[in-house]
């Protein structure tokens, strides 16, 4: 009887392990740069009132990260910190407070603001906003965050349909936030033209590109570790 040859099996196992590792890291995050550290408490909001902020919120929930959310906060509301001044939702204005108030009592200043980028005329209409008004609001809160050293994270998970020609509604939302972000996270579909990569390079800020929104769960876990 011919003796079985073991080395090829070892090679095969190694190959499987290597491919598995490549697959895990390759698919979960085609990370271009190291994921930075962000601190709690965190506020999520929309830049352009597309529904993508809902995706961001679900990702945070899946990652077990407590957050506050407001679709159209202005400087005063961000300044009021955790709990968003006990404001209640009303038509065209939504707030949700999930931050752990035991760790971060009401009024604790936010350390991080996550902006979900993407313009929706329907969403802005529902909030009584025009593109100009939304852009001006974003400018104010971005300036406030920069001045108060609040980390700005720009997320674009809407793909190519939430992109457009220069000067289009979507690009204006991106222009209002992304160049001032401390960290940019995008799906590959959103960054086909490399616009986010260029913004990140220009400011030397980290950027992570992923295939699916699901991949952001692990990234957010690391981010807020």
């Amino acid at each position: 009887m011919r003796k079985k040859i073991s080395p090829p099996r070892l090679d095969a196992s190694l190959t499987i392990i290597l491919f598995s590792l490549l697959f895990i890291f390759g698919s979960s995050l085609s990370a271009q740069t190291k994921i930075p550290k962000a601190n709690l408490p965190v506020l999520t909001t929309s830049a352009g009132q597309s529904n993508d902020v809902n995706t961001v919120n679900i990702i945070l929930e899946e990652a077990g990260i407590k957050y506050d959310y407001c679709d159209v906060p202005d400087v005063d509301l961000i300044k009021s910190g955790v709990g968003l001044a006990d404001r209640e939702s009303a038509p065209g204005f939504h707030v949700e407070v999930y931050t752990d108030l035991g760790r971060f009592p009401k009024g604790t200043p936010y350390k991080t603001v996550i902006f979900a980028l993407g313009a929706s005329l329907k969403g802005m209409g529902a909030s009584g906003l025009t593109v100009d008004a939304e852009e001006a609001r974003l400018k104010r809160i971005v300036e406030y965050c920069q001045k108060n050293k609040i980390m700005i994270i720009a997320v674009h998970v809407g793909g190519s349909a939430l992109r457009g020609a220069p000067g289009s509604d979507n690009e204006r939302m991106i222009d209002a936030v992304a160049p001032f972000a401390d960290y940019i996270v995008v799906t590959k579909d959103s960054n086909k033209d490399g616009r986010f990569t260029n913004i990140a390079k220009a400011r030397n800020v980290p950027l992570t590109e992923v295939d699916y929104a699901l991949d952001l769960v692990q990234i957010f876990k690391q981010l807020f570790q």
Partner: protein, 573 residues
């Protein structure tokens, strides 16, 4: 202001505050926990089974009520495809307008390629394409209504390759029956993911024999195709042949019986996904209920102050003998109802023009409509007729005729009450050029749609008077087209026996010619209304006279002004 008036005014204000305070908290509209379609409240679908209609046809409407959306139409011809060909899938946003100066919608949305190409079928069917696919050469027809779902189920990520719009186009290209169209859409959504621009959606899918309600939901933004799980959850229920139903942006499917495939179809995850998401507890002892799990919408016509009145209003209009109550929570309304009398296409046209007249939700009740009873001013009631309508379709499938002659989509541009339904047979090979043109932001006399907005705009000047002028035009152009249908059918049938191509040519000529005449008539009507009510007077065009007493301000309106002045204006006795 003297003391008497001050006291009167304070009493009036106190009464108002007391009245508002009296409304029980439970009856006040509350924010839904779901991502409801309420804020959009965009479309109404009316459905009629073949044994519920006066002529044996099945019918469905789509009131495309948006206010900022695209209204262009085209005909898509049938095509043969070689083995190995693929069909590109695009993201098509139903709320988007494509600037006409940049090109045509169907060319421009190709810029939003999803990256997905699916195997093409050997032959794709011809169909008429507006915002959605509406009717194909097999008499498979569709009407749409957004119904919303839980926020956590919404999937706006690029992982979801299919929007509802794209699904309807594929259904048109490939569907031979309503059932088949539903299965095609369902399986594609499961495999490639559903959502992106859309969330909870309802489609009425019908053919000459059956009318189905198809409802579909995304499965959340964390889905990816490699998961092996379906990228959508869907369910379909058939409307009994002798029943009618409606979808006013609210899910309509309740308990389901998948052991009865004649009446129910669903994706394999229909219950398991609800359990997984905590939307249904099998241990509750209650049967699974689709709408309660996936698209709950609280409130009744009354409790929402008419915001959700369309469901009750429809049932009350078609089956008044059953005395449906506006207090009944909408979720408790039946799926469908047998109408008190058989429904004709004219009845359906009338239903689409309903403004809730004479009900507690009448938008001109009291002084709301002003002196000329204009329902477009102030009011919380959402009626079936909606001033934001881009167009309304009535798809009609008639099984006793060959498919190209049996299928008709009646199209009315703009607001239903000031518009005119024009017939377009399933077998025609072109749509009017004027249907391909225009958007909301640039007035365009080459665009068919603007003719109807032009009339509607001038009706607003003195609504009750203007509408009478429109009704005369509708009687001439719309009612006559309905009456002529039998004659046109017969001519088309005679030609069809000789040559289907000749029949198609005849029908195309008839539909395009009729549409041109209607559009010309509406431009003329708009011009006449402008002249007639110029300066808010009444210029008699025929007699070349101006009647200063017209339009007459009613006595109750004068009294209402007087009452307001007495209460609020200083020095008025």
């Amino acid at each position: 202001m003297n003391n008497k008036k001050l006291i009167l005014g304070l009493c009036f204000l106190a009464l108002m505050i007391f009245a508002v305070w009296l409304i029980p908290a439970g009856n006040r509209p509350s924010l839904d926990l779901t991502l409801s379609a309420d804020s959009e409240a965009n479309c109404t679908v009316i459905m009629v089974g073949k044994k519920a209609s006066a002529d044996g046809s099945t019918m469905a409407t789509h009131t495309c009520d948006c206010g900022i959306c695209d209204w262009t139409w085209r005909h898509v011809p049938a095509a043969d495809h070689k083995p190995g060909e693929t069909r590109k899938i695009y993201h098509i946003n139903q709320y988007k307008t494509w600037p006409p100066e940049q090109g045509l919608k169907w060319d421009l949305y190709q810029q939003d390629f999803t990256g997905l190409e699916i195997p093409e079928v050997p032959h794709t069917y011809a169909y008429h394409h507006g915002m959605f696919g509406y009717i194909n050469e097999n008499q498979v027809a569709i009407g749409e209504s957004t119904i919303g779902t839980h926020r956590k189920l919404v999937n706006n990520t690029p992982a979801a390759k299919f929007d509802i719009t794209m699904l309807t186009l594929i259904a048109m290209e490939r569907g031979r029956t309503a059932r088949e169209a539903i299965k095609i859409m369902g399986s594609l959504a499961e495999k490639y993911g559903y959502g992106y621009n859309d969330d909870g959606e309802m489609l009425c899918v019908h053919d000459p024999n059956e009318v189905w309600v198809f409802e579909i939901m995304p499965v959340g933004p964390l889905w990816k195709p490699e998961s092996g799980k379906p990228g959508a959850v869907w369910c379909a229920q058939r409307v009994p042949d002798d029943h009618v139903s409606v979808c006013p942006n609210e899910s309509r499917i309740g308990e389901i019986d998948l052991k009865n495939p004649d009446y129910f179809m669903a994706s394999p995850n229909v219950i398991s996904f609800a359990v997984e998401q905590g939307l249904y507890d099998p241990k509750s002892g209650k049967p699974f209920n689709w709408k309660k799990a996936y698209s709950p919408a609280e409130g009744s016509a009354r409790s929402t102050e008419g915001r959700r009145a369309r469901l009750w209003r429809f049932f009350d209009l078609v089956a008044p003998s059953q005395r449906f109550s506006p207090e009944t929570p909408n979720m408790d309304f039946p799926f469908s109802v047998k109408p008190d009398k058989l429904i004709s296409v004219e009845d359906v046209m009338k239903l689409t023009r309903d403004r809730g007249q004479g009900t507690a939700f009448d938008r001109v009740k009291g002084i709301r409509g002003g002196p000329f009873l204009n329902p477009n001013y102030y009011g919380t009631t959402r009626t079936i007729c909606d001033p934001r309508a881009e167009y309304t379709t009535i798809t009609q499938c008639r099984g006793w005729l060959p498919n190209p002659i049996g299928g008709i989509v009646w199209i009315a541009f703009g607001v239903q009450d000031t518009s005119c339904y024009m017939p377009f047979y399933a077998g025609i090979t072109a749509m009017p050029d004027s249907f391909r043109i225009g958007d909301h932001w640039v007035f365009n006399r080459e665009s068919a749609r603007w003719a109807f907005d032009y009339v509607d705009f001038h009706v607003q000047v003195a609504y009750s008077y203007g509408l009478e002028e429109v009704k005369k035009a509708q009687a001439k152009w719309e009612a006559e087209a309905v009456t002529r249908t039998k004659e046109i059918d017969e001519k088309a049938m005679n030609l069809y026996q000789e040559s289907p191509a000749k029949s198609a040519e005849f029908l195309t000529g008839y539909c395009l010619n009729n549409a041109k005449n209607v559009i010309d008539a509406w431009w003329k009507l708009g011009d006449d209304l402008l002249v007639k009510f110029n300066h808010l007077k009444f210029y008699n065009i025929e007699k070349r006279q101006m009647d200063r007493s017209q339009p007459a301000y009613p006595e109750w309106w004068r009294k209402a002004i007087r009452i307001f002045d007495v209460i609020f204006e200083e020095g008025v006795k």
